[in-house]
């Protein structure tokens, strides 16, 4: 599996792509693979304020419901509305078109240290 070098990762298998005070959030390729066919995604309303580690939504596979945690603190500025019709995008392109939400990072908030791509790949390899 390839993890993009400019992404950051959590041990809960979310990713964040931070650019200019905003962060795009999704679940990792490892996570989508472990979940299997994703059939439903529940996302927050735009405007919701999230702290790091707070549940931002749920991703449901045929068999199970998984909570998704926000890797970073911020306000939801956009959600991936395509997932309502096509939740399988999370399986097909987890790091791209299968993104979940976009956050405007809380100004001045201390940001948790996330894993870089190499650290995350090593963490996943160890977990297996």
């Amino acid at each position: 599996m390839e993890y993009p070098a400019n992404y950051q990762f959590t041990k809960e298998h979310e990713w964040a792509l931070v650019e200019n005070g905003t962060a795009r959030i999704g679940i990792t390729d490892h996570a989508q693979h472990a979940l299997g066919d994703i059939v439903f995604v529940e996302l927050p309303a735009p405007g919701a304020e999230l702290t790091a580690g707070q549940v931002l939504g749920t991703v449901e596979s045929v068999k199970a419901v998984s909570d998704i945690f926000s890797p970073l603190p911020g306000k939801v500025t956009a959600v991936n509305s395509q997932l309502a019709q096509s939740p399988e995008l999370v399986n097909q392109d987890p790091h791209g078109r299968g993104w979940l939400v976009q956050l405007e990072l809380t100004p001045g908030a201390s940001l948790p240290r996330l894993l870089n791509a190499a650290e995350y790949a090593a963490y996943v390899a160890e977990e297996n």
Partner: protein, 364 residues
């Protein structure tokens, strides 16, 4: 407790199946994906390793007496080579298990039971055997493969000398498949036509890979327990521990048809006869979600904001393009009525629908 493995464990590894515990066994949950596997069984065919299922044989001149005593269906109606869906009953008329009873000879019956219940079933049968029939736990002697789907017959036909098309639904024969001695039963747990094939564990891998190879052109793929669950749910077939358990009587689970109170006394029959005169406390219903969201096992069902019942099984129904559930509701509810399912923080509308959710076009 260590998980048990079927004789096909290495084959599942080789096919890169996702494995998980089920009923004390380490079983394949999916290979190519539950949705693809589900649709293969609805449109072409799927092959399942169900070797975790338990087998119990009952032998001797009292074999029928014992089967009749512990099971609620009427095994006396079976002819040699015929199978019957039945319930293994407690004295209270509730389910120790559900099972298939096969009449092998006049003095031998093969009971196929759920993996997680097989030792409890075996003990229960032995404890209720005053007629002293011979009871034998035959689980380790059988592997079981389920070949299911509209093309199952076409796949199996050239692989056995027995004219497979002549096996009626819920009948079986002892013959061979790909030269391997096998019992071929026209039974299944998917709502499709198909066969459950029993063989010696040492032959299982040859039979598994042989069937997959011979069936490939017809669209046959390996399928795991994930698809088995969504398939049986669409067909509204009960799963022990969900729709039926030690607290369920047959009628409330809409299984009155397997409970033959007229056959004479059996375990639980006195209680069930009394219950027959009483109104049901609850009844199993089919729900179809009317808003986006999936009802899962255990979620509360509400009506006008009041809790009235509980989901027993819920999942997406790939062949229907809807999310469905089975649920306990008060028996006065009717098809077409609306209820709500409490899906975590949200209360979602669901319609009561007729069961089964899915019915194949032509029964075998």
């Amino acid at each position: 407790m260590d998980l048990q493995r079927t004789p096909l464990f290495a084959a599942h590894r080789q096919l890169r199946a996702r494995m998980a515990p089920f009923g004390g066994w380490e079983m394949p949950i999916e290979y190519s994906g539950i949705l693809a596997e589900h649709m293969a069984v609805r449109r072409q065919a799927g092959l399942f390793d169900v070797s975790h299922m338990g087998e119990i044989t009952v032998h001797g001149p009292k074999a029928l007496d014992l089967v009749q005593h512990v099971c609620c269906n009427d095994a006396a109606r079976l002819k040699i080579g015929q199978a019957q869906y039945s319930g293994l009953m407690t004295e209270s008329g509730t389910f120790v298990d559900d099972l298939l009873v096969h009449k092998v000879t006049d003095t031998e019956y093969l009971l196929v039971v759920n993996a997680g219940n097989q030792s409890a079933d075996f003990e229960h049968i032995q404890q209720h055997n005053p007629m002293r029939a011979e009871v034998h736990n035959a689980g380790p002697e059988f592997a079981q493969l389920a070949l299911q789907g509209p093309r199952a017959l076409e796949i199996l036909k050239p692989l056995t000398p027995f004219p497979a098309a002549t096996i009626p639904y819920y009948w079986f024969t002892r013959d061979s498949v790909l030269g391997i001695p096998a019992w071929i039963a026209r039974t299944g747990y998917t709502g499709e036509d198909g066969f459950e094939i029993y063989c010696a564990p040492s032959d299982a891998e040859t039979l598994w890979f042989g069937l997959l190879e011979k069936g490939r052109a017809a669209g046959l793929i390996p399928c795991g327990l994930g698809a088995r669950n969504t398939l049986r749910l669409e067909a509204a077939m009960p799963l022990y521990g969900h729709e039926i358990d030690l607290h369920t009587i047959p009628r409330e689970a809409r299984l009155g048809w397997i409970c033959k109170l007229s056959k004479g006394d059996f375990l639980g029959s006195a209680v069930l006869k009394q219950a027959q005169a009483q109104p049901l406390k609850r009844l199993l219903y089919g729900l179809r979600m009317l808003e986006p969201g999936i009802a899962r096992d255990g979620y509360p069902v509400l009506h006008n904001g009041q809790a009235i019942g509980q989901v027993t099984s819920g999942a997406p129904a790939p062949a229907l393009g809807a999310n469905i559930a089975l649920a306990w509701l008060p028996p006065e509810f009717k098809s077409g009525q609306e209820v709500e399912v409490q899906v975590r923080q949200r209360s979602l509308r669901a319609g009561i629908v007729e069961l089964p959710f899915y019915r194949r076009a032509h029964a075998a």
